[in-house]
């Protein structure tokens, strides 16, 4: 089982002929992802890894139906590409671009909400269910990082994800599905919005969230736990505990503003809701062992 993407989903890739698009299309297919069609304006008639390319999304889906859209499109064109996918009725969209203008990101999320679609990203590595399929850019071939298993992961950071999933695997677990919501201030999809999928996924025993300072996504997870909407164990690891006030650390979304977003507040909210919070990557594995017990490992 998996969340968001599995082997049954037919994937359309926007920007498929670019350097990143073609490189990761190859790897998505190698992992088992069903990439069926690609789009790059001006390149209709070409093919990438045997996948036919069309000028526009409308032209592509007229010939080859697809269920999910994967965008390898530069940040300044991402809004256009997301709206193009929404226009053709895609309800699952992943946009990896780092550097989407803030006000574009607001319009992207607003449109996704009003269409009932899910847009994951930007500024993300994407989505992966190890051993099954992925939409994005993950080194799934590194066994000690992307072993299949029963732990769901949601993350705001690509680089930190490798660090933390390596600790999950080291503790004897593996990953069911991983959703990179991304490091932008206005991500298309938020942690709490993905929780129902993990709640209903029989392949997921617990969820690890990799958060950081800024915004309120971690607090929203705590609310979902408190309300009983999410009932599986949660382990959280948060970056930026010692970050100086008022300075943006790394991601555009990693800043305390409006009196909200400090890591201390997030930890308090999560712990009150019953989540275990790790202050170091290594502890994530130990806290999972404690939450699930040694018997239910793997």
């Amino acid at each position: 089982m998996s969340v968001f993407i599995d082997r049954g989903d037919r994937v359309l890739v926007q920007g498929i002929t670019g350097a990143e698009g073609s490189f990761w299309t190859k790897h998505m297919i190698e992992l088992g992802t069903r990439v069926v069609v690609g789009v790059t304006p001006g390149k209709e008639g070409q093919s990438v890894e045997g996948v036919p390319v069309y000028h526009t999304v409308r032209r592509a889906v007229a010939d080859v139906p697809a269920d999910a859209a994967m965008l390898f499109v530069p940040p300044r064109f991402t809004k256009d590409a997301v709206f193009e996918a929404l226009d053709s009725g895609f309800a699952k969209i992943v946009a990896v671009a780092d550097g989407i203008p803030l006000q574009d990101a607001i319009q992207i999320r607003k449109a996704a909400l009003s269409c009932g679609a899910r847009v994951v990203g930007g500024n993300t590595s994407g989505v992966i269910s190890p051993g099954l399929a992925m939409m994005g850019m993950f080194p799934y071939w590194i066994e000690r990082v992307y072993r299949p298993g029963r732990i769901g992961v949601m993350t705001r950071s690509g680089s930190l994800t490798n660090e933390v999933t390596a600790m999950i695997v080291r503790a004897g677990f593996g990953v069911s599905s991983l959703i990179g919501v991304g490091g932008d201030p206005v991500p298309g999809a938020r942690f709490a919005e993905m929780l129902p999928d993990f709640q209903s996924d029989p392949g997921t025993d617990a969820v690890v969230i990799i958060g950081e300072l800024g915004g309120s996504m971690e607090e929203e997870v705590a609310e979902a736990m408190e309300s009983g909407a999410f009932r599986k164990p949660v382990v959280a690891f948060l970056g930026g505990r010692t970050a100086p006030a008022g300075r943006r650390m790394g991601h555009a979304g990693a800043i305390v503003s409006g009196g909200k977003g400090s890591v201390a507040d997030k930890i308090a909210a999560l712990e009150k809701a019953g989540a275990a919070v790790a202050d170091r990557p290594r502890l994530v594995g130990e806290l999972l062992q404690r939450a699930l017990g040694a018997a239910s490992r793997k």
Partner: protein, 395 residues
């Protein structure tokens, strides 16, 4: 990118927001002349990006052009201004203040809208107020596609206690601020304080923007004229040089220089150094599009004269072997005198390890172990650190 007050006020004025009469000055003589032209008393305001200018003595009400000129000298050629990096000052007419308000436009990430914040008390620290008395902040969501509607502004104006005589001005002012927010691709457009002037004789009370803050979205620079980074926007020479290279960089004043990849990982390495009792000299990311810039990155680190350089990466597209090649090249070229601790994992890591060993390093695979080693080296006396270097830079 945060803009200076004078730039924010220019953007305001261009869109119909009332601002005081003002002149931007770069020399004490210009300050004196501006004060004479505007009339005294007037206000001389340092143009710096930090908050708390008043407390730092960087803003002053002056009674005469001579006093303005003397204060201008302190700011533009004297020690006070030099200490705070003052390059320009704004001379502004004094406003006859009746009341002060707060108003800003920012973003609501959850609702995917813009968000107008307003408060009946001006000059407040809105961050502090949001923590201590959030009920005193008025909030109004604005749909980006529909735009700010007059009824929303009217309602806010009356809620702020502005009567019918000022309601129309407030609606116009907020419409102007909305245009600033949209047209400048702002992350934040703020007027704090917003003055309500005293009615005097046949001059009725009016609204005037006392201060202006405008933060522009760097990601939208391509459609905002795409200005090159300019030294005056950065708090240190190194931060400016890093920005020119497109390398994310924050200046601190500790011992461990971070040269890491990935925003999330670098932030966590920063935390771990602090947990271990160490201190960070600088935050630097050379991952993502910069993963071939190891030489530039190490130059920036070395300019801090750190006790140790700590390299931690776990890259996918930013290949470990390519980063290791860059680090080896940087060591050969720059001959760092401080020890280097390296923990490089990800795509091509086997080859990366060989490269680092050939460069005289002892690569590690565990982030926390690498941080502990770096912090312990940073506490060693310099002499010892130098000995480590004589064994080939090995940490």
């Amino acid at each position: 990118m945060k803009l200076f007050e004078y730039q924010a006020k220019d953007a305001f004025a261009e869109r119909g927001i009332p601002v005081p009469e003002r002149r931007l000055c770069a020399t004490p003589e210009e300050v004196r002349a501006a004060a004479a032209a505007i009339g005294c008393p007037c206000v001389v305001k340092s143009q710096v990006l930090r908050g708390g200018r008043g407390k730092a003595g960087l803003v002053r009400l002056v009674a005469s052009p001579e006093e303005a000129g003397a204060y201008g000298s302190e700011l533009l050629t004297g020690g006070l201004g030099a200490a705070h990096g003052v390059r320009r000052v704004l001379v502004e007419e004094a406003v006859d203040i009746g009341r002060e308000l707060y108003v800003s436009i920012t973003v609501d990430p959850l609702a995917a809208t813009a968000l107008v914040l307003a408060c009946a008390e001006g000059g407040v620290d809105i961050e502090e107020l949001a923590r201590t008395a959030p009920e005193r902040i008025l909030r109004e969501r604005v749909d980006l596609d529909v735009g700010l509607l007059p009824f929303q502004a009217r309602d806010l104006g009356y809620a702020l206690g502005l009567g019918p005589e000022l309601s129309g001005s407030f609606v116009t002012l907020l419409a102007g601020l909305w245009r600033v927010f949209r047209e400048k691709d702002a992350e934040l457009a703020e007027i704090n304080p917003l003055f309500v002037t005293k009615a005097r004789g046949d001059r009725p009370a009016a609204l005037v923007a006392g201060d202006g803050k405008l933060a522009i979205d760097d990601n939208a620079a391509f459609r905002q004229g795409g200005a090159e980074p300019s030294r005056e926007y950065f708090d240190s020479e190194l931060a400016f040089r890093a920005a020119v290279e497109g390398i994310p960089y924050l200046q601190f004043d500790g011992d461990v220089s971070l040269m890491c990849a990935g925003a999330g990982l670098t932030t966590v390495v920063y935390d771990l150094v602090n947990y271990e009792g160490g201190s960070v000299a600088n935050y630097l990311e050379f991952g993502g599009p910069n993963y071939k810039k190891a030489v530039r990155a190490m130059e920036l680190c070395l300019a801090n004269d750190p006790k140790v350089i700590l390299i931690v990466t776990f890259g996918t597209i930013a290949r470990a072997d390519v980063m290791a090649d860059g680090i080896a090249e940087a060591i050969a070229k720059l001959k760092p005198r401080c020890p280097i601790v390296a923990c490089i994992r990800g795509t091509g890591e086997e080859k990366a390890v060989e490269t680092l060993r050939a460069a005289g390093l002892d690569p590690l695979f565990d982030t926390e172990e690498a941080v502990r080693r770096a912090v312990s080296l940073s506490k060693a006396p310099r002499a010892e650190a130098t000995r480590a270097e004589t064994t080939g830079g090995r940490a």
